[in-house]
């Protein structure tokens, strides 16, 4: 057993001392058993073929076992500045009521937190989180060790103008945080969720959150996630969404820093006329690795999906993209597009990509495209002939490459913010 696992086991055993119901305890035990049965992900497993966790397994990280561990005063390093209300702040996996601003939320929006849930609610929460936790071994680990959960429900017909900010701060070094987010949108409701994953320590951390989304008919959700954690941070996240008739989901995921990031995203279109957009950018510099495993499952006819991921790789950075699109039997009139484009900017960078189509229906239009290449010399030359310095020309071209993803974020404020982030130094951690 590696140090990481040893520590996880210790945390799990420590949790047995917490005051929890028999049911919750049983659920944790089941998830832990599942985690052990799945085994530690190694490159011998198809899903982890290109992603080695050798860095993480050497770490011995503490789990935040005390719920609601409050931060006394805002430490200067807590990067909350400029994050407007409404916002929910989690530090090291624990909700911080003092830092959060939620007064202004409309009546149709309900927030509930795991420690406050009663037994039947906890059971429903766990039940709804199950598909997200089933995605990877880390999902099972989350189920066993999680300390915090937030359940956001938006009532039918309720539309939130301002984006809701979800801030996850990894503040303490040598810590891991396991949290769960459940998002339920009622019929015709609308929400923009901006997820900030930030770090304020130079020490190694591990953030392992799972998110489950359920969209009722015609609900509209935009989720914008930006990972900007420290150079030694490990980030594993699983997202699972269920979309009902005519619902519309847009997920934007930007992995801009960290030692290792692994995102497992599964979007399921289970009723007709549902639409999803899944877009993202990964930037990796020296010794960093970003891994996106996405799966879009067309389980119902007349659904549309559009996926595009772009990668910029520098130094010894590595990236993995595995995009799966599955069209079930009888999911006729499916329209699905997928693309993945990679810019390799150094001779030591490496990208492994696998766009994967699995089609069981016939009346469909599905396509995918992948490219791996360098900056276009002609474009660079064009800029140079117009008197733009070599470095700037390069930066401009890289920015243009990634900004294309940000351009389509519907909310103006969030879009501008992401544009600013993407215009920063490529692969750098200057925002931390």
């Amino acid at each position: 057993m590696n140090p990481f696992l040893t520590q996880c086991r210790a945390s799990f055993e420590m949790q047995a001392t917490l005051e929890e119901g028999v049911v919750e305890r049983g659920q944790r035990q089941a998830e832990w058993t599942r985690f052990e049965a799945l085994g530690w992900p190694t490159t011998r497993l198809e899903d982890w073929k290109y992603t080695t966790l050798s860095g993480l397994e050497k770490l011995s990280l503490q789990n935040s076992v005390e719920p609601r561990e409050e931060v006394k005063g805002v430490p200067p390093s807590l990067p909350l500045e400029g994050i407007p209300a409404p916002r929910l702040v989690f530090v090291d996996g624990t909700f911080q009521p003092d830092q959060s601003i939620i007064d202004g939320l409309p009546k149709g929006v309900r927030l509930r937190f795991w420690p406050d849930l009663d037994a039947p609610e906890r059971e429903r929460f766990t039940h709804k989180m199950a598909p997200a936790r089933a995605l990877t071994a880390f999902g099972a680990l989350n189920g066993a060790l999680f300390t915090e959960g937030v359940w956001i429900t938006v009532d039918a017909g309720c539309a939130l103008e301002a984006p809701l900010h979800l801030v996850k701060v990894s503040r303490t070094g040598q810590r891991m945080s396991h949290g769960a987010v459940l998002l339920e949108l009622g019929e015709n409701s609308e929400l923009t969720l901006r997820e900030h994953c930030v770090g304020s320590t130079d020490q190694p951390t591990h953030s392992n959150w799972v998110t489950a989304i359920e969209l009722a008919p015609r609900a509209r959700l935009t989720l914008v996630k930006v990972q900007q954690e420290g150079l030694l941070s490990y980030h594993t996240a699983a997202l699972h969404a269920l979309q009902r008739a005519g619902s519309h989901l847009q997920v934007f995921s930007f992995a801009l820093s960290g030692a290792l990031g692994r995102n497992d995203i599964t979007l399921r279109l289970i009723e007709p006329h549902a639409e999803c957009v899944l877009k993202g950018v990964y930037r990796v510099a020296d010794r960093a690795l970003q891994d996106f495993h996405t799966s879009i499952e067309h389980d119902s006819p007349h659904c549309t999906s559009d996926e595009c991921f772009k990668g910029v790789l520098e130094g010894t950075g590595r990236a993995v993209f595995n995009g799966r699109v599955r069209v079930a039997l009888d999911a006729q009139k499916t329209s699905s597009r997928q693309s993945n484009h990679n810019l390799l900017l150094s001779d030591k960078a490496e990208v492994n990509t696998k766009p994967q189509l699995e089609i069981f229906a016939d009346d469909v239009k599905c396509s995918h495209g992948t490219t791996v290449g360098q900056l276009d010399e002609e474009q660079w030359f064009y800029l140079r002939t117009r008197g733009i310095a070599a470095d700037l020309a390069r930066t401009l071209l890289i920015q243009a490459f990634t900004l294309e993803i940000a351009e389509v974020i519907p909310h103006f404020g969030v879009r501008e913010e992401v544009r600013r982030l993407l215009s920063g130094t490529v692969g750098g951690n200057d925002h931390v």
């Binding site: 198809e46 290109y50 790789l313 039997l329 009888d330 006729q332 990679n342 390799l344 900017l345 150094s346 001779d347 960078a349 490496e350 990208v351 492994n352 990509t353 696998k354 766009p355 994967q356 189509l357 699995e358 089609i359 069981f360 229906a361 016939d362 009346d363 469909v364 239009k365 599905c366 396509s367 995918h368 495209g369 992948t370 490219t371 791996v372 290449g373 360098q374």
Partner: protein, 482 residues
């Protein structure tokens, strides 16, 4: 009941026919696989010591391996002890006696493919002793090839006459432990083709297994080795468009190609083995390992395949691009109808500088057919300036068929360029309407559209093959439209 008299008659005729030949017992070895079987095969073929050792090594490794399960194909487990691993070239006794005994369905197919009458008999496996003039055809070919120094013979002959070449090249492209089926093949392979093109020689004709009479019935574990020496070039055709009568359910062949400096090998396959009936009963399992090695600078290996037969196809013709400026190509049309399954694709391993590869894969699924493209493009750190372009398209006919794509792309060199595009769709209603409006029947219209879809691959086939392949596609798709 006339069952017994028939059986008796069979026995009588059997005894009669083989009155002066070796008895059955000595021609076949018992079912099952063991080290003794391997030794026995090697002894029967009078093989040199090194080859026996090589076979045994493969067998020992095979014992420790498990059949691959990652492919998207489904079949009941194969009992490897229930196979006869060696039988002398099948005598013609078990075949039909004349064309009248041949399945009329098969004859209809020959008709549609426009296969000459005298060839139909050979293809159907009819016991014709004096096959038109094939022997003389083969001899003429051989003389012509020998003049320029080309060696084109069965694998067994090559083992006897050119052991040094076999020793030098065998297993250097597909090592014995490469995969489960390759290991099995290495241990028990029966025969196959051997081609050696000496330096600077351009092979004066298309080499084809079809005309190589001496290696008829090479059986289920075929082994082919083609070597093109410096500056040589050869085009090799495997198989033929007509459905072949074949009784072996499992086929595990290995094909190795070696191209030295400036050499060029073009390998074309048309595979149309028995696909099983409409319900998926029977049919051949085609588990093949094909790989080419571009060893020298500026060498060129091209795979073209048209796969319409077999119940299950599991095949990934690959190219290792070692020499700088070497080129690898893969053009494929795979068709699955009824209950056929195909998991096929290619691997392009770029190692040398400025290596280039092109992949064009066209998959057509009809009925309950299942189809997967599984490919790998790897740009090693040393592959400076390498390029790949991949295009894989799937066409779906019928609402119960499947089409999957699993392209692996691994890039470790920043000057390498990789492009991959794939699409899946069904035949456009508007295209069909256009053709129907101009008086074409629905079947002709579909056949025309499908041929258009495959054109990019067909144009890579040698001329006469291409024409046959087009017809074949039409025949294979019958009953899937409507």
């Amino acid at each position: 009941m006339n069952f017994i008299p028939d059986a008796l008659e069979g026995l009588i005729s059997l005894e009669y026919r083989h009155g002066f030949e070796t008895s059955i017992e000595s021609d076949e070895i018992p079912k099952g696989l063991s080290e003794d079987t391997v030794r026995l095969i090697s002894a029967r073929k009078n093989e040199p010591e090194f080859l026996l050792e090589w076979r045994l090594e493969a067998y020992r490794r095979w014992l420790k391996m498990t059949p691959p399960t990652w492919a998207s194909v489904h079949y009941p487990p194969i009992d490897y002890q229930d196979i006869i691993y060696y039988s002398a070239p099948k005598s013609q006794k078990d075949g039909p006696k004349s064309l009248d005994e041949v399945d009329p369905e098969l004859l209809k197919t020959y008709e549609k493919l426009g296969i000459p009458l005298h060839e139909r008999a050979i293809l159907a496996g009819v016991a014709v002793d004096a096959v038109f003039d094939s022997v003389s055809v083969a001899t003429t070919f051989k003389d012509k090839l020998a003049e320029v120094g080309i060696i084109f013979c069965s694998f067994s002959e090559a083992v006897q006459h050119h052991p040094e070449l076999i020793k030098q090249y065998l297993g250097t492209v597909v090592p014995v432990q490469d995969n489960f089926y390759a290991a099995l093949n290495s241990a028990v392979f029966s025969d196959g083709s051997f081609v050696y093109i000496p330096p600077g020689v351009r092979c004066p004709m298309e080499l084809s297994t079809y005309f190589r009479i001496n290696a008829k019935n090479t059986g289920q574990f075929e082994r082919t080795l083609i070597i093109a020496d410096r500056g040589a070039s050869v085009s090799y055709l495997e198989g033929c468009t007509a459905p072949m009568r074949d009784e072996n359910q499992l086929h595990a062949a290995v094909v190795e190609l070696v191209a030295l400096e400036d050499a060029k090998i073009k390998y074309s396959t048309v595979q149309n083995w028995y696909p099983g009936d409409k319900e998926g009963r029977g049919g051949i399992y085609n588990f093949v390992t094909k790989r080419g090695d571009c060893r020298g600078a500026r060498s060129h290996i091209s795979w073209t395949q048209v796969e319409t037969g077999s119940a299950i196809t599991w095949k990934y013709p690959s190219v290792i691009l070692r020499g700088k400026d070497s080129v690898g190509e893969f053009y494929s049309v795979a068709l699955t109808n009824h209950r056929q399954q195909a998991d096929t694709g290619t691997k392009m391993i770029h190692i040398g500088k400025n290596t280039r590869s092109t992949i064009v894969s066209k998959g057509i699924s009809a009925g309950f057919g299942q189809q997967a493209y599984r490919g790998l493009v790897r740009m090693a750190r040393s592959a400076t300036g390498a390029r790949n372009h991949t295009q894989c398209d799937s066409l779906l006919l019928g609402d119960r068929c499947q089409a999957h794509t699993f392209p692996y792309i691994e890039v470790k060199n920043h000057t390498a360029t990789v492009e991959h595009e794939a699409s899946t769709s069904r035949i456009g209603e508007d295209q069909l309407f256009f053709c129907r409006q101009r008086g074409l029947s629905a079947e002709d219209a579909v056949s025309m559209i499908v041929n258009g879809f495959c054109k990019e691959v067909f144009k890579e086939l040698p001329m006469e093959f291409a024409v046959e392949a087009q017809k074949l596609l039409g025949v294979s798709l019958e009953g899937s439209v409507g």
